[in-house]
């Protein structure tokens, strides 16, 4: 975001902040105030988003959400012009207001580059990191014939295109070829009939005159620094900034009511996932931990990771728990969903249930069977989204080390994954199925099953999905943002110890891990055999010294068979010892699998005991 705007808002002391996130279905408002020496969440309000007919004005939903905050606090934050800023002597208004948005489909982009695994991949990373959904990636070597590419570009109606290709001073032919395909396709924007589609060119600077002559008459062409000025470096910052500028100028300006909303705040409206990414990066820095965050929604699942200086975001546009739930079924297959269900269910019945959830997306499970089915589907959606993430969270391919500045990273070279599950310190889940699971242990288990963290990892969920608001707040007031994040946003479920292995063969019941804990001066020893799980009570806020002894076939971060001395943290679930091994798979035989699932679910106190007994008898 522009520096001058940030400076402008910090000229005065900030004691109260109102922030909204205009989501595709719900607009959420939070009020943050300084209480003594720290910033805390005071209340939240929500209302249906009003971008669609009959309202077609996003501010109506924002006003409704803020009105709920007014009702809950008894204060006034709105007048006819919008949010009252700064706070007035009579107590009305707030010091600063800001908003994020993903309403109306969020930011939808197409990206193009010369080589699929090089400049096109860099363009995809730039777009995803800026908070976009990438509709397609076009490259010279993507296997499609020119007319197929043209056809595809014509079909898509993105909000903007990011075009990259070539290193500065290198050959211009290929990137011009892609520009000519775009020119031939004459793509039109999704919003604003009659407007020219914005195209950002971030490729070889020597090709600019040719790009201009190909495209400038047909699209709204913007030039920015090359994403790959040299092969060994990726510079994503300028392109991302241009994406954010165009998001404000073009996409938001065309969306109903956004001109009014933009006038309410001095801070540019940010795409929701872009803000969540900033929040994750701030959290990683603050806690000095590697972080993976996931937001599983109705239509999409976003995965964020911060490992060292490397930040990556991916969005799996068609993996979700309602609108896209049938796509989860399509991609993973019914057998993969059924492997998480500890009772027999007719396949046709399961398929029909999933379809009916798609067409009636706002319904909730009423029976435990239905809840278990929904949580089984979510494990698969999360697992697939994480696989997708790992495929993109990689170093620059085929080059030596080094990336640069800001959001650019040092490279590991040769497309190696940045994701090191043993190094992962914090795994954050967000989205209804995780945040609103009736028992918090269910959220912990879904994340353990889908992500399979190794070693020692803290598990947490976002209580009310306020990471977007905290992300945008962190751009102007990182301290307030992180205080609220730590105290009010994150619900800590507790540490999980999960030995990797076995290194060789092992069978159920073989020794796996012994954990010695010292809690409040009391010593506890837990031995958990391979293939089992154990939940150790450890309250939220408590910390315990832990000496973790993996058996020689297992590793908790110090090498196979080597002891780790560390501190574990409690949470609302407790300390989980997951000795199922990594990577673990559920048994293929149905009766064995059901038995094993019931055993794990019982160990984790996942569902009512009488229900699990019933499943065990079956």
């Amino acid at each position: 975001m522009p520096e001058e705007k940030a400076a402008l808002t910090l000229d005065r002391e900030i004691n109260s902040v109102l922030a909204t996130d205009c989501g595709s279905t719900t607009t959420k408002a939070i009020l943050i105030e300084r209480v003594g020496d720290e910033y805390r969440l005071i209340v939240r309000g929500e209302a249906p988003t009003t971008v669609e007919a009959p309202f077609e004005d996003v501010t109506a939903g924002a006003r409704n959400a803020i009105r709920e905050v007014e009702e809950l606090t008894g204060k006034t934050f709105l007048d006819e012009a919008g949010v009252i800023t700064p706070r007035r002597p009579d107590g009305s208004g707030v010091d600063i207001y800001m908003s994020t948005s993903s309403a109306g489909g969020g930011l939808q982009m197409m990206v193009a580059g010369v080589v699929k695994t090089m400049t096109a991949e860099s363009a995809a990373r730039a777009a995803l990191g800026a908070g976009a959904i990438v509709m397609d990636v076009i490259s010279v070597d993507d296997g499609r014939k020119p007319h197929e590419k043209i056809q595809r570009i014509r079909q898509l109606r993105p909000d903007m295109i990011l075009l990259s290709g070539g290193i500065d001073g290198g050959t211009i032919t290929h990137v011009v070829e892609i520009a000519e395909l775009i020119s031939a396709a004459e793509p039109k924007p999704r919003l604003g009939i009659g407007y020219n589609l914005p195209v950002i060119y971030a490729g070889n600077k020597d090709a600019r005159p040719h790009i201009k002559s190909s495209l400038s008459k047909k699209v709204d062409l913007r030039m920015t620094d090359n994403l790959r000025p040299v092969l060994e470096r990726e510079v994503l910052g300028p392109a991302r900034e241009e994406i954010h500028n165009l998001f404000m100028e073009h996409v938001m300006a065309q969306a109903p009511g956004y001109n009014k909303l933009m006038a309410w705040t001095p801070i540019p409206i940010m795409p929701t996932p872009g803000a969540v990414g900033i929040c994750m990066q701030t959290a990683s820095k603050e806690y000095d931990l590697s972080v993976i965050g996931v937001d599983i929604g109705g239509a999409t699942t976003d995965v964020f990771s911060v490992f060292g200086e490397y930040f990556n975001r991916t969005v799996s546009a068609n993996l979700g728990m309602s609108y896209s739930i049938c796509n989860v079924l399509l991609e993973t297959g019914v057998a993969n969903i059924m492997r998480w269900i500890p009772f027999d269910i007719n396949e046709g019945d399961l398929r029909n249930r999933i379809r009916n959830k798609m067409i009636r997306p706002t319904t909730i499970p009423q029976t435990l069977d239905d809840l278990i089915i929904e949580q089984a589907i979510s494990r698969e959606a999360l697992r697939l989204a994480f696989i997708h993430h790992k495929s993109l969270a990689v170093g620059l391919r085929g080059v030596h080390k080094q990336r640069t500045i800001g959001d650019t990273f040092e490279q590991t070279g040769s497309g190696e994954s940045y994701i090191d599950m043993m190094d992962l310190g914090l795994l954050i889940g967000s989205g209804g199925v995780l945040s609103h699971a009736p028992r918090r242990a269910q959220a912990a288990m879904m994340m353990l099953d889908a992500f399979q963290p190794e070693g020692l990892t803290m598990l947490a969920v976002d209580s009310i999905f306020m990471m977007p608001q905290l992300g945008i707040l962190s751009t102007v007031h990182p301290k307030a943002s992180m205080q609220v994040f730590d105290r009010d946003c994150l619900i800590k479920l507790g540490s999980a110890i999960a030995p990797a292995g076995p290194n060789g063969s092992a069978k159920d019941g073989d020794p796996c891990v012994k954990v010695e804990l010292e809690v409040d001066g009391q010593k506890i020893v837990e031995e958990v055999p391979y293939g089992s799980m154990k939940l150790v009570p450890l309250e939220d806020g408590k910390r315990a010294k832990a000496i973790i002894h993996p058996s020689r076939q297992f590793d908790v971060g110090k090498g196979f068979g080597h002891t780790l001395e560390t501190t574990v943290t409690g949470g609302v679930v407790g300390l989980t010892i997951d000795a199922r091994g990594r990577v673990f798979n559920v048994p293929e035989d149905t009766s064995q699998r059901n038995k094993k699932l019931v055993e794990w679910f019982t160990a984790m106190n996942l569902y009512p005991a009488e229900l699990l007994k019933k499943y065990a008898q079956v």
Partner: protein, 373 residues
């Protein structure tokens, strides 16, 4: 939030219906405000740019890209017919001749001296938008389209496939519990919209296509039958563009599900009337449900309407839309304001409802939809 229930699908014998008919690109509106239109009246038209064809002339001629302009027989902006010589290169004092012919009729749009590509643009493709329903042009959206207003019967389905079409309604079964089978479909159903009860089978859909029926309306469908009909699975709930002979509209959901009495009764009353139907469904931002419209339908007597302005109140008729009472019709008995714990242990807002057999059940408010009049 203020309303923790699904508003429900409209099933009404008399409603004011407005349809916005919009071009994909700016163009020309062909009708004036106040004009009466029928479904096939063209209300707006435009030309979208023709398909482009790229030809790598430099490669074909064996010359450098920067030199191709001098070998072009047709300059930028010039027209050319399919098979005509577009570029020619003679080498060795004219001894060897290399030519490139136009693959299509078109205009030379671009000659790139960087890539050696030539882009030919085929003639513009005319796009027309019809009125889709009988009605009056209420508003003209300059260069974009029109809003058409009509009054008549309006039924929304829950899910559909296939696009807009029109046909006369025929109810092919006796009760909303009946399954629409292949045997119900007759040769005289050509051009018709056939109504079934609780389910439409795969063979019935196939037969409908064979006889030339244009639409099917039924309570439910088996998901594998739908996949077989489409030839592919559906991942996300965005439909309407399928290339299928029969538009299929489902009113209740997947599986065998009795069609709501109200819906079935209204469709029976509409038998013999011409309907405009559309299977397009979009269950994301901008929710769109499939629809059946009978413009100009005048009910013989006014049906009893429920006042829905208060949302859910005791007596409101509703349909339960999730297990364990999925598909059952009920009536609100009681709306406790406090959150209640349900079997899943979730704390949610619930209601108590009386089922058709008199049983009182507890249901999360999120799992009901009001049967709207």
């Amino acid at each position: 939030m203020a309303h923790a229930y699904t508003p429900g699908l409209k099933v009404t014998e008399r409603a004011v219906i407005r349809k916005t008919r919009r071009l994909p690109l700016l163009g020309e509106v062909l009708v004036e405000q106040g004009k009466a239109v029928s479904p096939d009246t063209i209300v707006a038209r435009t030309d979208i740019p023709g398909n482009p064809q790229t030809v790598n002339v430099a490669n074909s001629l064996g010359v450098e890209p920067e030199d191709i302009a001098e070998f072009m027989k047709v300059k930028t902006g010039g027209s050319i017919k399919k098979g005509e010589i577009m570029a020619e290169y003679r080498s060795f004092f004219g001894l060897f001749k290399h030519t490139v012919t136009a693959p299509v009729d078109g205009v030379v749009e671009m000659v790139s001296t960087v890539t050696g590509q030539v882009t030919l643009r085929e003639p513009p493709i005319p796009i027309q938008v019809d009125a889709y329903i009988d009605g009056i042009v209420e508003e003209v959206l300059p260069k974009e389209g029109v809003v058409i207003r009509t009054e008549g019967a309006f039924i929304q389905g829950i899910f559909g496939v296939g696009g807009e079409t029109q046909g006369v309604i025929r109810v092919a079964v006796d009760s909303p519990d009946d399954v629409l089978e292949e045997t119900h479909i007759k040769p005289e159903d050509k051009g018709k919209v056939i109504v079934g009860g609780s389910l439409v089978t795969a063979s019935a859909i196939q037969k409908a296509g064979e006889v030339g029926a244009l639409g099917i309306v039924a309570g439910g469908i088996i998901d594998t039958d739908l996949i077989a009909y489409l030839g592919h699975d559906i991942g996300v709930a965005i439909t309407g563009h399928e290339d299928v002979p029969v538009t299929v509209i489902i009113t209740e959901g997947f599986g065998k599900m009795r069609m709501a009495h109200r819906t079935f009764g209204l469709l029976k009353n509409l038998q013999g009337f011409k309907a405009s139907i559309n299977g397009a469904t979009q269950i994301r931002a901008g929710v769109m449900r499939p629809e059946i419209i009978v413009a100009g339908y005048q009910p013989k007597e006014a049906a009893q309407e429920h006042d829905l302005s208060q949302g859910l109140v005791p007596g409101t008729p509703l349909r339960i839309i999730r297990e364990p009472y999925f598909g059952q019709l009920a009536e609100v008995v009681d709306l406790p304001p406090e959150l209640q714990v349900i079997e899943t242990e979730a704390h949610v807002r619930i209601l108590r409802a009386k089922l058709a057999d008199g049983t009182i059940v507890t249901v999360p408010r999120a799992n009901v939809e009001i049967i709207e009049a």
